[in-house]
Symmetry: C2
């Protein structure tokens, strides 16, 4: 069970190790959205995504002797890099199980951060848990789950603490906080923080069309499973169903889920390039896409979008610029 006390404890452990990412704004984005847009640039976090927060939180919370044996994780890429760097900074080893169709940049970066990378065939239906279990039979490494772990959720929640204070500095006290959502680790952590530190900031999940298990689940009041497992460029957030720990938190605290198309994400990437000078990956652009192109489902004079990651291959980024970068 994740609690706000765990988020506060994680904040203390992360202090000095995690980057306080900036909250960016642009009059041009405000114009597109028809309201003030605040962008929490977690793509500027260590390893290029918010995942470093949860990874650091979980690894720093392990008993010393467990941590010394090393950690294992499975991930399409951003969690992989977060765990690899956090493990390396804790001077322990990391084994990462990655789908072989993950973006090259994520696989290469994970290797370069001193992790041992094992690839599996996601599209062909190979089960990542089995792959991980097989490796772990021998080594007894500590599994760092990508979202369904109380310490991971607590670490991601530190983003929410920063959001409340940065929004206050920018005089925004009443707004939807849009979060790109896969398993829901970041969204649920932020939801816990907003409940504690703000009166009128509310989490909204944002997902790619066809992978909107959270939107369906929040409507149904129970976890729903997506039909597809691949088929979106938003590789970072195409998990099949809400997490066991994350769903109850969001079912209690989040507003209705939002859904965006891949094309809207590419468009948001190009606008972030032009107006904010940050690099966002497709899955990390979903929240900004919702803020810019689905304003009819959002309340208030301002909206906060979390740009969750920036680990995108150059060809995909160039594609976004060529398609939507006209000024």
């Amino acid at each position: 069970m994740s609690t706000i006390a765990m988020v506060k404890a994680a904040e203390k452990r992360l202090k000095g190790n995690v980057r306080r990412t900036p909250m960016l704004t642009s009059p041009f984005l405000d114009e597109v959205a028809g309201r003030k847009v605040l962008v929490k640039a977690e793509c500027l976090q260590h390893t290029g995504s918010f995942k470093f927060r949860g990874a650091w939180s979980a690894i720093s919370a392990l008993p010393k002797e467990d941590r010394a044996r090393g950690v294992i994780a499975f991930s399409s890429g951003n969690h992989a890099q977060g765990v690899a760097l956090a493990a390396s900074m804790h001077k322990t080893k990391a084994v990462i199980i990655m789908p072989e169709d993950a973006p090259k940049i994520k696989i290469e970066n994970t290797k370069a951060l001193n992790a041992k990378v094992v690839l599996y065939d996601r599209a062909g239906g190979e089960d990542r848990d089995e792959v991980a279990n097989k490796i772990n039979e021998k080594e007894n490494l500590c599994l760092i789950k990508p979202f369904d772990d109380p310490e991971v959720i607590a670490g991601q929640g530190t983003t929410g603490i920063e959001i409340t204070f940065q929004a206050k500095d920018l005089k925004v006290r009443d707004a939807d906080v849009l979060v790109c959502t896969g398993g829901g680790g970041l969204a649920s952590g932020i939801a816990l923080a907003l409940k504690e530190y703000s009166d009128n900031l509310r989490v909204r999940t944002v997902e790619p069309k066809g992978f909107d298990d959270y939107a369906h689940s929040l409507r149904a009041g129970r976890p729903v499973v997506n039909k597809n497992v691949t088929g979106s460029i938003c590789d970072a957030i195409i998990t099949p169903t809400p997490g066991l720990l994350t769903f109850p938190i969001l079912n209690r605290l989040a507003g209705p889920g939002l859904v965006v198309t891949d094309e809207e994400c590419l468009n948001a990437m190009a606008l972030a390039f032009k107006c904010l000078k940050i690099v966002i990956e497709p899955g990390g652009a979903a929240a900004l896409a919702a803020a810019l192109f689905h304003g009819e489902y959002i309340d208030g004079n301002a909206v906060i979008a979390v740009a969750t990651g920036g680990n995108v291959d150059k060809d995909m980024f160039a594609h976004a610029l060529s398609k939507y970068g006209e000024i």
Copy 2:
């Protein structure tokens, strides 16, 4: 005459209006450079460059009745946008004289920030001062110079105050601070701040090959003029000669100037995309290029590079990624 007292006063006026940009790092960049690399991401400043600081400083320092008449500026683009936004936030009008070969994104953004834009033919030898004077005969607007103005230098110097504290946080106390340099407003402002707030941080100018008037001038001890006026992709920093106010400051406080090629700037842009998730324009990448590729001219275990701006057309950015973005 610019003084540290003016930098401190500018800091007070800028507080709450300027963004405290992050100091970014990446283990991958450290590996390329062979030492710790800290990147002060001023491309994330309002309007996408440090120029907003100087513009705000100068406009906020004007007597009220002068400010009410409006301001005028000439600029290849970044100063233009800084002045346009700062004027608009001060609820006064701005007229901006821009060369017609400036990047489209800079011209369009300046217009979108409510400034009146007047284009002139830089390559054809039209004199921007004459163009400005002609307009100003009627309107009596206050000229906001791009660098040779004590209040502009003071505003840019606030970057240096932030650098000293952020470097300390990252345990870097002895390092060269590389600054992309055109007229020298930012470099001289930072130099004043470093002298006051640090013991062992020193400014170094960085310029494109063929436009290295500061490198020559610092060596000669007197201002030298470049032979060419166009011919580099680093449009933001190809001023012909050091400023009258900026040169004496840098002649006293800066180390030897560094010089980089356009290709090295493109390479640095691609590495910043990959490792830092920020968008830098060619002229804004010069300092990072020097840090990464000219380490033999730099002392110490760490180096600080100011990424001064991010206003780059999509085609130029895609070109950098396609040429140097391989992983």
